[in-house]
Amino acid sequence: MNRTKGDEEEYWNSSKFKAFTFDDEDDELSQLKESKRAVNSLRDFVDDDDDDDLERVSWSGEPVGSRTRPGSFQSLSDALSDTPAKSYAPELGRPKGEYRDYSNDWSPSDTVRRLRKGKVCSLERFRSLQDKLQLLEEAVSMHDGNVITAVLIFLKRTLSKEILFRELEVRQVALRHLIHFLKEIGDQKLLLDLFRFLDRTEELALSHYREHLNIQDPDKRKEFLKTCVGLPFSAEDSAHIQDHYTLLERQIIIEANDRHLESAGQTEIFRKHPRKASILNMPLVTTLFYSCFYHYTEAEGTFSSPINLKKTFKIPDKQYVLTALAARAKLRAWNDVDALFTTKNWLGYTKKRAPIGFHRVVEILHKNNAPVQILQEYVNLVEDVDTKLNLATKFKCHDVVIDTYRDLKDRQQLLAYRSKVDKGSAEEEKIDALLSSSQIRWKN
């Protein structure tokens, strides 16, 4: 994103709410640090005995573990004695499930109401389709999902699946409950049948694809993904599934190869930087990073080469450069970094170009502890002057700062900057030389 400093200024100046800054180290944080010191200095005086008050977590903080000792047991009537209403724990002594009900003449609506109360209630006498559907409709109109599911379990057992599916197709609420129920109990077969019946092809495909998450063995997972490739996904998702399959296929090859190289101990890069984890099942970008780290110079023909990955998965330039930069900077391979941004025009002149903006390049380099000379080179390539000055100041690229103020003919700023460089350093000398130069026509 190439948001310029100017834009930012304008945004904040025109905006009506005050920004509070997290990075304004100068005032609030230091104020906070001061307070902290003050508080800590009191420690000698207070830190003696009990560690109690904060660690002791009351009942509400520790829901199950802290059973009250029998001695402190309060009877229910004790607990309630000061309250006016007495009836809010009606069935405490008799678990609901024990209410058995053998009566046979409950109406559908009575039955559903009893089910809601958790009473065991036989549904067997609802044998005609009409009765079953009436039961279901009563359950739906009562809104209790538990009861809807209870009726569905009964219907699933006593109706053929064609009839069940057909009736649910026009009862969306009940249908959603059945789908969720099948997902939860893991009845994948019936679920897929249902989606097929409903002609919900995409859900069918996704549901099948989901199963791969349960397969740990990489080869088996790959084979499973292969079966997903032809499924009726949307055109867009089909491409993603194909990519998923191809990616795992590549990872398996790379993994086998690299594990071998690593254990053989002949390859320098693996000796110097042993792998921290296997590359199997990692995202594409992580795989690209890995390949830029371990296999940067490989020819396009090999599966593990970055260029091969870029082409196979149509990785956009921006993403590629970002990842390659991070990987090469981590290895401190500054020549590779340089080459990433160098382009030649048709006359053979070289030019530096970065699809991600040089301010980002600088940040990434800094994160990887690039030396000042390297940083400086890229800070200089930042086009926007304010951003450039900001970055140069932040990362102590003195030469860039000094040269920029010189070019801006800003004597005041240069003078102010003098206090920020080390006494007697080359930078100070350079500033002094500039300040006393008679050739610059300062603007202030």
Binding site: K16, F73, L92, H177, I185, L284, F313
Partner: protein, 590 residues
């Protein structure tokens, strides 16, 4: 700092009763078993206990049943006989029993229920601790928890009297309300004649306002939740906060005096406050110089403990602030907030889109990237197809292809959608949405989900004036409206709706907003002619969030309460934030 309540603000009801009630029920259930001496967390591994009886306290989920079944069956194989008891909380589901039956252990285990559904996390906050509510209902359309909500409301009305004024918005809100009413009718008489303590109840579905829940929080309590995750009202502060080598579990509620004063504050005010506090504390300690023996004795016996307590709390919160600052500086929070505000206000969409893109490309964080995409989608009524495709592709490349499933979930829930091409669709759309709402059976079929759930955020924001027009600077020290919880940039939609309805005591005049929220059939009011309600109780409002609420919303309503002389009480299925919402939708476990 720390605005006091108006002198006429009503007292909060006493929730400690709920705790006692729940505790006693559990003790009762456990006492029935002999000698339950230790509880283990149910994990998918063999039980090590050599006891003759095992007792499981579980949520009613299939996978818990499978675990128990495997345990019982392996005991059976080993020829071992034990007694097993399963206590379901808050209730047993038929599907669970079915699994016990299928696994052949029905009858071998006995079942019980612990109807514990209201955990008082604070003096004004009750949580049902059901984070799964969000996914179960808003993604899967499963209504299993609606009865739990209705039961909880029933319990509250038995304890604290009937609610004379009821309002609600959202399909789930309406269903929960209806089921609760049925319950009250069935168990008629209990609340009759009781004086209401709580004058109003407001039920709200999370999908009425996804935007607020997706924003980064900048009020202290919200920020602590986003950074450290508050669980069950307490937080684990690691060594980076405690400046020692151990972690500390700290309860965060109104009893922590320091926390109570900063919890609702915008983060930028917190530093100043803590510094001031530290100076005061120093001064109080300094008084001991020049004391004679008697004074010193007095000081030690009466003040020292309080000062020490405050000192501890202060250093903890200072440590937390420091740690938050460090983390936020590192992740370029400034830029992130700027992007969020741009999305809320609807300008520089291209720039925001490329910011999100870069976020993804650099693999900053899968959850954050997802959150930003959802925010873009909802504020813009869906992504334009080209952006949708390219962001999705880059996301899959950066974070893994299996997230294809996550995208499918987000689309079904209406959190991340693709704009339908062309304007011709509006005609079809209105037809479809009419058809869909007309059908009592259900709101949406998958094919039309993106159409039926158009968010219309921009239009709603205009109607309800969610982006305050302020001349000059927004002074976060002296908030003028609820927008302060988002740095003055945005009034939380959920809270604004509540404010407007309470002002009108109805939905009158809000028809257009309700229509834009796709809730024409799901906005309701129900007033009982109740002259017993005292004027004090009429200023006490219970807000029920179905699918979770954030600390920012709680802070905003606490602020509104102070302004208007109300007190709000919150009941939520769980405290949530953007990361929890995204994780609930994610198909790949982090």
């Amino acid at each position: 700092m720390a605005f006091p309540h108006r002198p006429d603000a009503p007292e909060l009801p006493d929730f400690s009763m709920l705790k006692r009630l729940a505790r006693d029920q559990l003790i009762y259930l456990l006492e029935q078993q002999h000698e339950v001496d230790k509880l283990y967390k149910v994990e998918n591994k063999p039980a090590l206990s050599s006891n003759e009886q095992l007792c499981f306290l579980v949520r009613p989920r299939i996978k818990n049943m499978r675990y128990i079944a495997s345990l019982v069956n392996s005991d059976k194989l080993a020829g071992r006989t034990r007694k097993y008891k399963v206590i379901f909380s808050p209730q047993k589901f038929y599907a669970c029993e079915m699994v016990l039956e299928e696994e052949g252990i029905y009858g071998d285990v006995s079942c019980d229920e612990w109807a514990f559904s209201l955990l008082p996390l604070d003096v004004d906050l009750l949580s049902m601790e059901l984070p799964e509510f969000f996914r179960d209902y808003f993604l899967e359309g499963d209504q299993r928890w609606i009865n739990t909500v209705a039961q909880a409301l029933h319990l509250l009305s038995t304890l604290y009297g009937p609610f004379p004024n009821c309002y609600g918005i959202g399909r789930c809100a309406k269903m929960a309300y209806e089921l609760w009413r049925n319950l009250e009718e069935e168990e008629d008489g209990e609340t009759k004649g009781r004086r209401p303590e709580i004058g109003h109840i407001f039920l709200l579905d999370r999908d009425v306002d996804f935007v607020t829940a997706l924003c980064s929080q900048v009020v202290y309590e919200g920020l602590v939740d986003d950074t450290f995750r508050i669980k069950c009202g307490s937080v684990d502060f690691g060594p980076e906060v405690t400046s020692s080598d151990k972690s500390l579990k700290v309860l965060l509620n109104a009893e922590d005096k320091v926390f109570n004063e900063i919890r609702n504050e915008h983060f930028s005010n917190v530093f100043g406050f803590l510094s001031q506090k530290a100076r005061n504390l120093q001064a109080q300690y300094d008084r001991r110089r020049g004391m004679d023996i008697k004074q010193m004795k007095n000081f030690v016996s009466q003040e020292l403990k309080g000062l020490k307590q405050e000192h501890r709390l202060l250093s903890l919160h200072i440590g937390a602030c420091e740690s938050i600052m460090k983390k936020k500086t590192k992740q370029d929070f400034q830029e992130l907030i700027k992007t969020e505000h741009a999305l809320l206000e609807g300008f520089n969409i291209r720039e925001s889109t490329s910011y999100i893109e870069e976020h993804i490309d650099r693999q900053v964080s899968p959850i954050e990237s997802l959150r930003l995409m959802c925010l873009l989608s909802i504020t813009e009524n869906g992504l334009i197809p080209k952006d949708y495709r390219s962001l999705k592709t880059q996301y899959l490349q950066s974070y893994g292809p299996e997230h294809l499933l996550t995208f499918s979930n987000l689309r079904r829930a209406g959190l991340l959608t693709e704009q339908a091409p062309g304007d011709t669709l509006t005609a079809v759309e209105s037809k479809v949405s009419k058809l869909v709402t007309d059908k009592a059976a259900g709101k949406i079929t998958d094919a039309f989900s993106s159409l039926a759930k158009r968010s219309n955020f921009r239009a709603i924001s205009k109607k309800l004036n969610l982006i305050p027009r302020v001349d000059g600077e927004y002074d976060l020290k002296v908030p003028r409206d609820m927008a302060y919880v988002f740095s003055g940039a945005y009034v939380p939609l959920s809270c604004r709706i509540i404010e407007q309805v309470l002002e009108r005591r109805s939905w009158q005049g809000l028809d257009e907003v309700v229509r834009l929220l796709n809730c024409s059939d799901f906005a309701f009011t129900d007033m009982t002619k109740e002259d017993k309600a005292s004027s004090e109780s009429l200023r006490l409002i219970l807000v029920v969030f179905l699918g979770g609420c954030t600390f920012s919303e709680i802070s905003a309503l606490r602020f509104l309460g102070r302004e208007k002389g109300y007190r709000f009480i919150f009941l939520t299925t769980a405290v949530t934030n953007s990361a929890r919402l995204m994780e609930a939708m994610s198909e790949v476990k982090a």
